[in-house]
Amino acid sequence: MNKNMDKGVWVFIEQRDGEVQKVSLELLGKGRQLADQLETKVTALIMGDNVASKAQELIYCGADEVIIAEDPLLKIYMTEPYTKVMSELIEEKNPDIVLIGASSIGRDLAPRVSARVYTGLTADCTSLEIDEETKSLLMTRPAFGGNIMATIICPDHRPQMSTVRPGVMVEMEMDTTRKGEIVKVKPKLSNDDINIEILEIVKEKKQKVKIEEAGVLISGGRGLGKAEGFESLKLLATELGGLVSGSRAVVDAGWLDRDYQVGQTGKTVRPEVYFACGISGAIQHVAGMEESEFIIAINKNPEAPIFEVADVGVVGDVNKVIPALIEELKTLKDNK
C-alpha cells in the first residue's frame, strides 16, 4: 500500500485577528494538487480562539479535513503555544507533508516546529512537486546566493516541511459544493506554556497600497545611479496608474522602503506590466517577478540577465529612456 495513503498533506492556516491570511489559501491550492497526485487528503490546521467559523471556507478552498485547535492562549500568535500544539498534532497524526506560509509568523513557527519534531525544513520554496518514483516531495528554491536553483528532498524524516512566500502559489477557485470533515481538538495548554508577555500590540497601516496588487509596476535598481532616480519612475507610475517598486540593492541602499522590495526576500508580484529599470536581474529578483504578464527591461548592459526574462528589452540609459517615455505618453495624451 502506498505509505502516503492515510497521512496526508497539511497546511498551516495562519490567522490574524481571526482572519485567514491569503498565503494559507494559496497553500491549500498547492496542497490540493499535491494530495491529488498522492491520492491522499488535504488537512487545514487552524489554531486560534473562536476560529471554527472559518472551517467551511477552508473546505471550499481545497481542504478535505479541517483541524480546529481553539484556546484563548492561541488567540494571538506566540511561538511556544503554537509550536507545542502543532508539534503534538504532527507527532500524533504523522502527516507526510506540512506547508507553512513564509510570513513573519510562519518563519518563526516553522523552524521551531521542525526542530521539535526532528525533521528537515526547506525555506521559501518556489516550486513543490511530487517525485513520480519515490512519491517524495521535491522542494525547489533559489540557493547559493540566488544564482542557482536547488531541489531539496527530505528522504529519511517526516513530515517533509516547507515554507512558501505569499504570492508564489495560486489559490484554487472556491468551490462551494466541496465537502469536508471538521475535527475539533482540545489543546493541552496552560499558563506554563506562555514564556513571553505581550505588553502592547500595535497595528500599523504603513502600506495602504500593496505592490502585490498593482497592475503596473515600475521597478528600479542600482542602475538608476542614485536615490533621485526614483523621481522619474514615480512620474511614470502616475502616468500609467501603477506603483513604484525596487530591487533589494536599492532597498539596502536606503533609496526605497522595504515594503516595496520585489524578489525572493521581498514581495512576489505578477502585474500585467513590469518595468525593470536598471535592474540587472539576479535570480533573487527574477524569482519575485518572472510571473508578470509582460516584462519590459531597460538596462545599459546588453548582457544583463534581466533581458533573458524580458518580453521587451531596451539597451540604454534608464535615466534617458524613462523621461523620454514620460514625454511620449504626455504627447499622446495631449493629442487626444
Binding site: 513573519s104 523552524p111 536553483m149 500595535v202 497595528k203 526574462v309 518580453d311 517615455l325
Partner: protein
C-alpha cells in the same frame, strides 16, 4: 550579562552577478562581510556592553577564513571570539548547523543569545529559532528594538502589519533585523587589538559535546537532490536604439496590452 552573538560570514553581494555565458556566480572580487542582520545584533550586544557592562562573545561556524569576520567583531569591541571549524561540519543544513552551534553555546554559558534574523546568502531564517529549540529557550524573532529591564528584556517584535512589544525573561534567544541598528565601525585601536591582543579561539568537533548523528552532510535531514541554473523563459526582442525611439516602442507595446 553574558551575551553570545552568532554571526555568519557571507559574500557581500545583494545582487549576485552572473556569468551570462555559463549562468554561474562570479565569485572573484566579491568580498566577504559579516551578515547584515547579524552585525546589527552584534551592535545591540556592544551597546549593552557600553551601558551595562555586558560580556560579548561572538561565535561563528564556518571555514577557517571566517576568522576575518570574527576579527572584525573583536575590532568593533567584542570580548571573545570562537570559530567552530571542522571537516565534520561541512555540508550542514540548518538542523545540523543549529545542533552544532547549540552545543558550542551550551559549553559557553549565557544569559542572552543573539542571532541575525537571516543570512543574505541562504535567506532561511531557520538557524536562530532552531538553536532556541535545541536549548529549550524562549525565542523572540524579528526584533527591531531592545532594552533591558532587570532580568527581563523589552523587545519590539515586528510583523508585516505592525509590531508587538514583548517582555521576556533571560535566558532567551532573539533574532535581530538589520534595521535595528547602524553598526559601529571598527576602531583603529580595535583593529590592532584584534590581531595582537585578542585571540580567536578555534574549536573543532572534539571541543564540543554533540550527537555525531546530527553533524554535517550525513546529519542533515534535508539533502540537495540536484541544482541547476535557472532555465529562463525565451527572451523577447532586444532593442539598442535612441531613448526617443525606445519610448515609442514601449508605448506601442503598452497599447497592444491595453495599458494605455
Amino acid at each position: 550579562m553574558r551575551i553570545i552573538v552568532c554571526i555568519k560570514q557571507v559574500p557581500d553581494t545583494t545582487e549576485v552577478r552572473l556569468d551570462p555565458k555559463t549562468g554561474t556566480l562570479i565569485r572573484e572580487g566579491v568580498p566577504s562581510i559579516i551578515n547584515p542582520d547579524d552585525k546589527s545584533g552584534l551592535e545591540a550586544a556592544l551597546k549593552l556592553k557600553d551601558e551595562k557592562n555586558a560580556h560579548v562573545t561572538v561565535l561563528t561556524m564556518g571555514p577557517p577564513q571566517a576568522d576575518v569576520a570574527l576579527r572584525e567583531a573583536l575590532a568593533m569591541g567584542a570580548d571573545k571570539a570562537i570559530l567552530l571549524t571542522d571537516r565534520a561540519f561541512a555540508g550542514s543544513d540548518t538542523w545540523a548547523t543549529s545542533c552544532t552551534l547549540a552545543a558550542a553555546i551550551n559549553k559557553l554559558g549565557y544569559d542572552l543569545i543573539i542571532a541575525g534574523r537571516q543570512a543574505i546568502d541562504g535567506d532561511t531564517a531557520q538557524v536562530g529559532p532552531q538553536i532556541a529549540e535545541h536549548l529549550k529557550l524562549p525565542q523572540v524573532s524579528y526584533v527591531e528594538n531592545l532594552s533591558v529591564d532587570g532580568e527581563d528584556l523589552i523587545l519590539k517584535r515586528v510583523f508585516e502589519d505592525g509590531y508587538h512589544l514583548i517582555k521576556v525573561k533571560t535566558p532567551c534567544l532573539i533574532t535581530t533585523l538589520k534595521e535595528m541598528n547602524e553598526a559601529r565601525y571598527m576602531s583603529v585601536g580595535g583593529i590592532f587589538d584584534s590581531y595582537r591582543e585578542k585571540e580567536v579561539e578555534v574549536w573543532s568537533l572534539k571541543d564540543i559535546e554533540v550527537d555525531h548523528n546530527n553533524l554535517g552532510l550525513s546529519g542533515s535531514p534535508t539533502k540537495v537532490k540536484k541544482s541547476f541554473t535557472k532555465g529562463a523563459k525565451s527572451a523577447g526582442k532586444q532593442y539598442n536604439v535612441e531613448a526617443k525611439e525606445a519610448a515609442k516602442i514601449i508605448v506601442d507595446k503598452l497599447r497592444e496590452k491595453y495599458i494605455i
